[in-house]
Amino acid sequence: MSVIFSDTAKAEFDRLLTRYPDKEAVILPSLHLAQREFGFVSDEAIVYIAGLLGVSPAQIEGVATFYTMYNRKPVGKYHVQVCRNIACSLLGAEHLIEHVAGRLGVLPGGTTRDGKFTLSQVECLGSCGTAPVMQINDDYYENLTEASIDAILEKLR
């Protein structure tokens, strides 16, 4: 896969540069863009962004690895992230994580063989009033039950 922004992404990147008094401030948005464009933040993507911003790849890497949302390794087409913090746990999240793991046949951290799903346990998604909650790619799924999880996963299969 060639690591070069598409025209749309490049236009967005150029627009971002106008929004901050300092180029480095574009590092986080650029990493989001890279992840959207290339699926994950590869070493090549880090070198590419470093080149665009005129900073060292080490600096970009130091930032990329600090934050949990940047995937440094490929993830499945659907990244299923189930919250296991207190409000979700009080309403059965631990049990639901086991349920999802069983349905997908992978442990948290794993990706299904067909590359379609990656399962992660995450800390607080900030949606405690509609617990239990999971996030799949950009979308939240709230007030989860075993049945609703089955229906959601079935749709994505």
């Binding site: 607080c124 900030g126 009033g129």
Partner: protein, 422 residues
Amino acid sequence: METVLTTHFADDGYRRIDTYRSFGGYDALRKSLSMTPEAIIDEVKKANLRGRGGAGFPAGVKWGFLPKDLSRPRVLVINADEGEPGTFKDRVIMSRGPHLLIEGIAIAAFALRVHISYIYIRGEFVREARILDEAVAEAYAAGFLGKNILGSGFDLDLTVHRGAGAYICGEETSLINSLEGKRGWPRLKPPFPASVGAFGLPTIVNNVETLADVPWIVTNGGEKFAAIGVEKNGGTRLIGVSGAVNRPGVYELPAGTNLKEIIYTHAGGIRDGKALKAVIPGGSSTPVLRPDEIDVSYDIESMAKIGTMAGSGGVIVIPEGTCMVRALSTLMNFYSHESCGQCTPCREGTGWLKKIVGRIEAGKGRAGDVELILDVCDNMMGRTICPLADAAAMPAQSFIWKFREEFDRHIGEQKCPYGNRF
């Protein structure tokens, strides 16, 4: 009851500028532009508007910390990181009333003579970031942002900036570092952000709800806002109730509403007819309360008097039958995961708390472990750059002080009496 924020939140169209304006939206901005910046700040001071992010610092006073010198540009940053477990109120404002926030930002920016502003929103809130982006574009198109706002000569640029998954970025100096494209490591204070903040410029960081209150204050006057709440604590608060209640959700209630009433009347009482075991009153870092302690006014001063905090307004309700060691273990996993690692007492302390509480829960606790936890907490509190170490130590101490027998039982029986489940 008078509502400040949520009056029209049930109307889906309210997130669009036309509907917002049909309810008088942006009239407060128009009014502000005819006032002096000092007069606006005075109204906010009179309103007794306390920061809604957790610390509860008076907003008008914070604004007064900006240097008088106007030779350097200033920055207004909106803290929309909302990462404290149990807290989910700002998301409601951003998704239901984004223009309320944008109008509040524009008014505050005018009052603070700021021309550059950023909404730092937690990275996971992709949908809310999109809603805000759309609302910001609408506000630019209507002349409420950008150059020469409403012909006043006042300019303001506003950008929505997504974080990338780090609880620590809710701390204002971490947030500033993150905004600048760095790791979200907290900075030593002083210098305070008001003198040296984002991009080295004088900076004010305010929470979403704090700024969303501002248009109402300008429209109705600070005294009227102050009258809704209690002394020193004006207005309403968005209170998020989660956990084992019949009606979890966000409730807008006057500051100083009774906590028991919040849980039993507004949130409908405890689920499945169970009894109440404990309440974490203001987000996961605030000291836990027993059922006999919750007949209390939910305001900053009253909560402090009973040794806890109203914090970010996140009430987490724990029902009978919950293992408190397991609940604490869940929290310690969180704080250990989220420590940025910069300060040793926090990096090591949160790790040890996770390890010790975890082994007690797993039935491998040792005699003296409870004292060890308290000792670790003592060595964390107040010894780090930012309050994350305290945020981990406060629940650990309070769970032990108030539910000590459960820890002792785990260690004595060498197993979890609740079967290691919630």
